[in-house]
Amino acid sequence: MKKDLTLLLFNIMGIDFGMDVEPVKAMGHVDALVDGKSGIIWFHEKINLPRPPVVYEFPRALRIETGKKRFYLIIDKPRDMPLVIPIKEIKPFPVLVEQFLHATPLWAVCPINGRILLLVDPLKMCR
């Protein structure tokens, strides 16, 4: 069991998210994606953000590969540098919140620098 997790950080609509970088094979401009390409998932399609309409300010496309699953995930405002966090810093969601998240890709939180990162499981994004 690893002691650390390397996270790609991004922010959509003012909410900070973190995602394990391991299945992220590349990041590029959304414009570079071929029109009509299948296997493109916009982040907000899987995460029910609180205040629609969702506006992407600096969208980027992540190429995610794991096993037989391959897809592009569009996120917003990714940080340039990934962040390594010790596993022990990861906390489960509080009970009252966690009960509503079983069907979502959100799986835990990580408090960092006075903010709370919501951790996303990229593999659950393509369900």
């Binding site: 909410i15 900070d16 995460i47 029910n48 953000l49 609180p50 906390k91 489960p92 969601f93 509080p94 009970v95 009252l96 919140v97 009960q99 509503f100 998240l101 069907a103 979502t104 959100l106 939180v109 408090p111 006075g114 903010r115 709370i116 919501l118």
Partner: protein, 175 residues
């Protein structure tokens, strides 16, 4: 406060009375027993929760919204390294939202093992009263409030204070 349009039916009132009587029979009041109450306001109306159901009162800190959770949950906060939920009492009690101010507080309530923040507009006082002073709530209260009420009385500076049950609030939010 928004009108719910749902007044308790006669049968509901009778059932509530019967339940209250059964509750009182199970927990006979000791006349001199005192109870500590944390008094606070929501939409300029006075409420209280029992001191034993309060772990601490926190200054307001930014709440991280969690996509996918219902409107009755505002989000999560970091309490010295522990992540706690914050419930939205305004939505639960069907009352108008009031903007955050310097007086806004988060009461960390507990019910058994369950712990959660409750955002309130202003913590007015912590008082100690005889338990017997708290009466069943008035029948004209909207159902959205009486559902979570333990009792009420003019307890603070001539204001009618509704004593909420943290247990009932948290049970409603637990699936």
């Amino acid at each position: 406060m928004r009108k719910t349009g749902k007044e308790p039916s006669k049968t509901q009132l009778i059932l509530d009375t019967v339940r209250n009587q059964a509750e009182e029979a199970r927990n006979p009041e000791i006349p001199d027993e005192t109870v500590e109450l944390v008094i606070f306001t929501i939409a300029h109306r006075y409420f209280a929760i029992k001191g034993r159901d309060v772990r601490e009162i926190l200054p307001f800190s930014p709440i991280t919204e969690v996509p996918g959770s219902p409107r009755t949950i505002r989000g999560i906060i970091n309490v010295r390294g522990d992540i706690e939920s914050v419930i939205n009492l305004h939505t639960l009690l069907e009352m108008d939202e009031v903007p955050v101010s310097p007086a806004t507080r988060i009461i960390l309530g507990r019910s058994g093992e369950l712990l959660s923040g409750i955002q309130v507009e202003h913590v007015a006082d912590v008082i100690s009263i005889k338990k017997a002073v708290i009466k069943p709530v008035i029948s004209t209260l909207p159902l959205a409030i009486s559902n979570y009420a333990h009792g009420g009385e003019e307890l603070y500076k001539g204001h009618y204070v509704i004593v909420l049950s943290v247990d009932k609030l948290f049970k409603t939010l637990s699936k």
